[in-house]
């Protein structure tokens, strides 16, 4: 008895600037297999029907953020989205909105990276000598780590930028990802760059342009809450203006090696399974 394979139709938005006058939808029908992700489906289309179809991907496991696209109207990662979870019959795949299109499903993420760079997404310290020639580790407690931990899970995929209604109309607005990252570094106990970062976001079309629509948080495939980070950044800046902000000294440095030894209650590691030379 022959088994009839279930088919699914992918409607893909195709566009090649310079050749096409406008983007157009093209339908591809492919067999649906168990566990198939949208990225797998695109690979299948490229292999069997349209070798010219272009999209961006790398890790295939929701870590690199390259394959963010608009899937049935929701900006998310193609590698992290099971086809059967979206639809059993038809699926619409387009490039991330709010960005120019390089080709087909490839958005031009240059504005995202430029805006990200503008907020100085790295630890800024006033002790320049220590920054250039570190003499030890920064001492940070688990409690201090928790202040920014969830915002550090951002993979810069751009899904939040595609979902943001403010970024859709105001191209000067930094967008959820850069603003959330400005808070991520500002709330890091190792950092001293609040003033410098504030200069980048405390302006017209800056952090205060956020309407708190929270679409960015709903879209984030990594469960980061950029809307929360933006509100916390706003609060910090207002508190700073009112002189209510407690200025904390940045965490210290542990010079040299730790003197504490191995704790007694930690069991020894198992034997090597392969003999060591």
């Amino acid at each position: 008895m022959s088994e009839t394979k279930k088919m699914i139709t992918f409607h893909v938005r195709k566009f090649e600037p310079g050749r096409d006058a406008a983007p157009a939808w093209r339908a591809y029908s492919i067999p649906l297999s168990k566990g198939m992700t949208v990225l797998d489906g695109l690979h299948e289309i490229k292999r069997t029907q349209d070798p010219c179809l272009a999209w961006r991907y790398s890790c295939r496991m929701g870590v690199c953020g390259s394959c963010a696209m608009l899937i049935n109207g929701k900006p998310t990662l193609a590698c992290n989205t099971q086809v059967s979870a979206v639809s059993e019959k038809e699926i619409c795949v387009g490039p991330l909105p709010n960005f120019n299109i390089v080709r087909d499903l490839v958005p031009d993420l240059t504005p995202l990276f430029e805006k990200h760079q503008a907020v100085k997404p790295f630890i800024l310290r006033k002790d320049q000598e220590e920054m250039e020639n570190p003499s030890g580790e920064y001492e940070q407690t688990p409690h201090e780590l928790e202040a920014y931990l969830q915002f550090s899970y951002c993979i810069r995929c751009g899904a939040c930028m595609a979902a943001c209604p403010t970024f859709a109309t105001d191209r000067d607005y930094p967008g959820p990802m850069p603003l959330a990252q400005s808070y991520r570094y500002t709330s890091d106990s190792r950092d001293e760059g609040f003033e410098e970062r504030t200069r980048a976001v405390d302006r017209a079309s800056g952090v205060f342009s956020c309407h708190f629509g929270s679409e960015c948080s709903a879209a984030c495939p990594k469960g980061v809450d950029p809307a929360k980070a933006i509100q916390l950044m706003k609060r910090r800046m207002v508190w700073d203006y009112l002189h209510f902000l407690k200025r904390k000294k940045p965490c210290g440095i542990i010079h040299g090696q730790r003197t504490t030894g191995r704790r007694e209650n930690i069991p020894e590691p198992p034997e090597y399974t392969i003999p060591q030379k």
Binding site: T169, D202, K234, D240, Y241
Partner: protein
């Protein structure tokens, strides 16, 4: 200008509007619960004698000016923010910012003069 300052004042202006509109509701629409000194002639709050009596009070002149300033700043800053989010040129946004600032200052000066002049007129009655 740093927008954290403008935003902070925007929030404060909103609070001032909320408090003063609450006061307005108390005096004009809940006269039974408001102090008699605010409606000394008795009867309706909108009666001419009560209007003149309130017009003589410095407290009302100050709150009119405060409400005017808060409402103008809150409204015009909000309007400027909306214009700032439109997909229009930088030059137009800058022009709107300057125009709204000038409009706000002019309306505030005119309204302040009107509030002071109204008190003067009420004092003469």
């Amino acid at each position: 200008m740093r927008h954290s300052r403008l935003w902070t004042w925007h929030i404060f202006a909103g609070l001032v509007i909320l408090i003063l509109l609450g006061l307005h509701m108390l005096i004009m629409h809940l006269a039974k619960f408001s102090p008699n000194s605010l409606n000394p002639a008795g009867g309706e709050a909108i009666d001419w004698a009560n209007v003149v009596a309130r017009g003589k009070m410095a407290f009302f002149m100050i709150t009119y000016i405060l409400l005017l300033g808060a409402a103008l700043f809150h409204g015009l800053y909000g309007l400027n923010t909306i214009i700032g989010e439109l997909n229009v040129g930088h030059g137009f946004k800058k022009f709107c910012g300057v125009a709204l600032t000038l409009l706000g200052v002019a309306l505030f000066l005119f309204g302040t003069w009107a509030a002071i002049a109204a008190r003067g007129a009420a004092m003469g009655m």
